[in-house]
């Protein structure tokens, strides 16, 4: 998939050459031949022949993820089936100093699964077993390559589902979700991946297999699982994941409300939250996004709307009815001129279809586009949307907005045509300015798509050197040699070697034979 720049497009890089800071981060000089030969030998020893890809044409299949304008051909692709196989390959990489990158379904939108030309891509697509659905424990144990929606499909007969629902849920993997701490429309009420992953079997960058968390909550010791979720493959590879299952709600209602402007829709959003209602989802689309969705899916959104809200309420029946009435009232008071409530699953699906296919739909009205993922405090929505509109009109670059309004997670789609000289650069500029807007409003550069290679350069705008240095202490604990997905997340790597005054080696307690006692 290469949705970010031109839906389903198989065209070459659309934004011109990869930025210089990225080349360094992708190991473009290629692998050290002796080291790579040793890693291949180690991989052959544990993997069946058809689980190794060395052929250049086939390697190119893996050259990018969902952020298709960065492309790097990996030196080797492996498709392991077990944790032991993953660990063996990782151990070989670590021993020979070659980088490795994990890949699930390759739908990431920040270049997290962008391969290294000097390293190994470890793909989890053969690790797709749902090992256990334990309804009485409200847990499922799955392999990392399992598709997000398949967890819900497996749990539904028992009355449960897996709550985090990225729009890519029909194709993205649980391992990728874990690495990106993925969100989705329903995360407003139910939280993100990090709130739903309770355990993982994990291969560290040195090739050890460790168990983090598990079926029970609050495992003693540091919450390493919490650090691993959202670490974008830079701390190691998850080889099994234990997730929380949520009981299906008694009732679900979906409301579509048309507004004259995004200001009105934003005010309605604030009013709903301010009234103490926590809907399962509040999604917003602006006029341009509606136009695109309409053309693509004929979702029949209110004609002439400058913005629509999709509000979903779920839970126990009495509450759902009450809250729906409140939401309708608040939407009306804030200028909704048309409202529709889905009364059956088909109507519900139609309302969601417009929203969930919006990215793809925008691809039909513009040959290329950039997806941004900045977050702002929800109360700043009207102001920031106005500022984005001004940026758009002053630069002449069209911006479509389709986003998670309830938690302030914007997805401005910055449209351009790369065939037009300078259009890509102009779009990049607008896109960067939008991120600055988010940061200046006390927000974040990414709410769910991750930093990857795409936004690493923006990290210093959000965090101080000390903040980043402290995060990298975790990196050094897990990956002292810097072989796990190097070049992602952090703009500059930290050297994990000896720091003057810092002791390495065994703890005095261990040496004294005490630490093992307790």
């Amino acid at each position: 998939m290469s949705v970010t720049h031109g839906t389903e497009s198989t065209a070459g890089p659309v934004l011109g050459p990869v930025p210089p800071e990225a080349t360094e981060a992708t190991g473009s000089s290629g692998p050290d031949p002796a080291a790579m030969a040793a890693v291949i030998e180690a991989a052959r020893a544990v993997l069946p022949p058809d689980s190794l890809i060395e052929d250049h044409i086939r390697l190119r299949t893996y050259e990018c993820d969902g952020l298709a304008h960065y492309r790097v051909t990996p030196a080797l692709v492996v498709l392991p089936e077990t944790a032991e196989q993953v660990a063996a390959v990782v151990r070989a990489c670590s021993e020979h100093g070659l980088p490795f990158v994990a890949r699930g379904s390759g739908t990431g939108l920040s270049g997290g699964a962008l391969p290294r030309a000097d390293g190994v891509l470890i793909v989890t697509s053969k690790m797709r077993a749902i090992r256990e659905v334990r309804a009485h424990d409200q847990r499922a144990v799955v392999e990392p390559g399992v598709i997000n929606l398949d967890v819900t499909r497996a749990a539904t007969p028992a009355g449960y589902y897996y709550a985090p629902d990225p729009s890519s849920q029909q194709i993205c993997s649980i391992g990728g979700n874990l690495a990106e701490n993925s969100g989705g429309a329903h995360c407003l009420k139910y939280g993100f991946t990090t709130n739903h992953v309770v355990g993982a079997q994990f291969v560290t960058p040195q090739g050890e297999i460790v168990e983090l968390g598990g079926l029970a909550p609050d495992a003693p010791g540091y919450d390493l699982l919490g650090a691993v979720v959202g670490s974008e493959g830079t701390l190691g590879i998850a080889t099994a994941v234990t997730v929380r299952l949520v009981r299906l709600p008694e009732d679900v209602r979906t409301l579509l409300a048309g507004f004259r402007s995004t200001d009105d829709a934003g005010a309605a959003t604030s009013a709903i939250i301010g009234a103490g209602i926590v809907p399962a989802a509040i999604e917003m689309m602006d006029a341009l996004a509606i136009e695109a969705a309409e053309a693509a899916t004929h979702c029949d959104y209110p004609a002439g709307a400058g913005a629509v809200l999709v509000v979903e309420i779920d839970g126990a029946r009495a509450e759902v009815e009450h809250e729906l009435a409140e939401v309708e009232r608040l939407c009306r008071e804030n200028g909704a001129f048309e409202m529709r409530v889905a009364t059956d699953p088909a109507e519900r699906a139609l309302i969601w279809k417009g929203r969930k296919s919006a990215f793809a739909a925008v691809g039909r009205i513009s040959p290329d586009y950039i997806v941004q993922d900045g977050v702002i405090p929800r109360t700043a929505l009207p102001e920031v949307l106005r500022a984005i509109a001004e940026l758009s009109s002053s630069s002449g670059v069209r911006v479509a907005n389709v986003f998670h309004a309830g938690d302030g997670n914007l997805h401005p789609l910055v449209l351009f045509d790369d065939a037009v000289e300078g259009a890509g650069e102009a779009a990049e500029k607008v896109s960067g300015a939008i991120l600055d807007l988010c940061i200046s409003h006390g927000g974040s550069i990414t709410g769910e798509h991750g930093v990857g290679i795409d936004k690493a350069a923006y990290m210093p705008r959000m965090f101080s050197d000390d903040d980043l240095d402290t995060m990298q202490l975790v990196r050094c604990a897990f990956d002292p040699d810097g072989v796990a997905n190097p070049g992602k997340v952090f703009p500059t790597p930290r050297l994990c070697g000896e720091v003057p005054g810092r002791r390495r080696g065994a703890h005095p307690l261990v040496e004294a034979g005490l630490a093992e006692a307790f």
Binding site: A219, P220, L224, I273, P377, R378, S444, T470
Partner: protein, 421 residues
């Protein structure tokens, strides 16, 4: 290991430039029986940083203190030269009601946070089962209570954190928005780290609306299997409980209680359903005083346990607790979030340490088999001396490496945490 003697005068001089409130420690400042030399009361993150820098230069070991209600949790530190008391950092810095977030200093009592945000009809959905906890202490000990069934724990509510490292460097992670995946989530590492990675000075939490109404539905049980049926019935129903508490006192019948929160009409209907799910004899009422408290009184000298397990293992844990205590000839009060797979236990102060050890070992074996653990949170010194309080911890080596990176000189609460960290 014998620690080099501390030159208190020199240490005090070193700290004087860092903070204007440094005093010699008294007996009340001891940390779990470990005598301390000095207490510093910094008033800002910057001052905490100065204090920790000075402590680093002077080679002082440091224990952070909130209200001191859980300073005896974990193992006693090997040394605690300096207590960094956060009592002067007790401000709610910003309550952005429209964004449902609150930004607080770490020394703020949870009760003060609740009072502040309640003025806007909101709450921090984190219980304070023993009372008196500060934000920093609650984070460090991963404190939680009944409502974790609906809202999770600190790890799910904390969205931004400021901490001061052992070397005095100030670091932030997360931010002020509920959705944010930029960088590593250091807040997760800090929660439950017992002060061994850094001193938390500020925290940002997501808030929830206060419910308009609530109801408690309770039912008694005689046998563990009955409790499990009741709990499973409620969890697999669609009544969206805020809490599912289970109590198994040392004597007499046990009790399952289900808290429902929401709007009047909704709560009434769900309470009806919950009553049906719990079975004959279930009753509806309000929250009694002390509901959801841990089963021990702080300072009573009781041994305090935390047992975790896969949800469907409830009956086995209750049964093991019964048989292990009967065999050891001791009594155990169990109470906790049975609906989340967590129970707290209390063995009376006069329980012989060997008996404590045998009960802990039996419970631990059962909980471990059920994917969980049994930890001794707090206990008298005689018990801590002979009982493996933390128990076996998977991935311990990796945890050591994290500690090594954050605090290579082992000056933050050394020895208090798992594996002697």
């Amino acid at each position: 290991m014998s620690a080099p003697a501390l030159d208190v005068g020199a240490a005090r001089t070193a700290l004087a430039g860092a903070c204007d409130d440094v005093a010699e420690a008294g007996p009340a400042d001891a940390v779990d029986g470990v005598v301390t030399a000095l207490v510093a009361r910094p008033a800002s993150t910057a001052e905490v940083a100065e204090v920790l820098r000075a402590a680093a230069v002077a080679g002082l070991t440091v224990v952070a203190r909130g209200s001191g209600t859980k300073l005896t949790w974990g193992r006693p530190p090997e040394r605690a030269d300096l207590v960094v008391d956060l009592a002067r950092m007790a401000r709610v810095q910003d309550h952005a009601a429209g964004d449902l977030i609150v930004d607080v200093q770490a020394g703020t009592p949870l009760s003060a946070v609740q009072e502040e945000v309640a003025s806007a009809g909101q709450r921090l959905a984190l219980d304070d089962p023993l009372g008196g906890a500060t934000v920093g202490g609650a984070l460090a000990t991963n404190l939680s209570g009944p409502r974790r069934v609906a809202f999770g724990t600190s790890r799910d509510l904390l969205i931004g954190v400021t901490l001061v490292r052992a070397d005095g460097v100030v670091a932030k992670a997360g931010g002020r928005v509920v959705k944010n995946v930029a960088g590593y989530d250091l807040g997760k590492l800090i929660v439950g780290s017992f002060g061994t990675l850094g001193v938390v000075t500020e925290a940002v939490f997501r808030l929830h609306p206060l419910p308009a109404a609530h109801r408690l539905v309770t039912a008694l049980f005689d046998r563990p299997e009955q409790a499990q049926r009741q709990v499973q019935g409620v969890l697999s129903g669609q009544v969206v409980p805020a809490a599912v508490e289970v109590e198994q006192p040392a004597e007499g019948p046990g009790r399952v209680s289900v808290l429902l929160e929401g709007i009047d009409a909704g709560v009434a209907g769900r309470a009806d359903t919950a009553r049906r799910l719990l079975g004959a004899g279930a009753e509806e009422g309000d929250l009694p005083a002390g509901w959801g408290a841990f089963p021990w009184t702080p300072g009573s000298g009781a041994t305090a346990l935390k047992a975790t397990f896969a949800l469907s293992g409830l009956a086995r844990v209750l049964a093991t607790a019964r048989s292990a205590t009967a065999d050891a000839g001791v009594t155990l009060d169990l109470r906790g979030s049975g609906g989340a797979g967590v129970l707290y236990g209390a063995l009376p102060a006069d329980t012989h340490p060997v008996a404590v050890g045998s009960v802990v070992a039996r419970l631990r074996a059962e909980c471990t088999a059920l994917g969980g653990a049994t930890v001794v949170l707090d206990a008298p010194a005689e018990v801590k001396a002979v009982v493996d309080t933390w128990g076996p911890v998977p991935a311990l080596e990796l945890m050591r490496r994290v500690k090594e990176q954050f605090d290579p000189e082992r000056r933050l609460a050394p020895g208090r945490f798992v594996g002697g960290i």
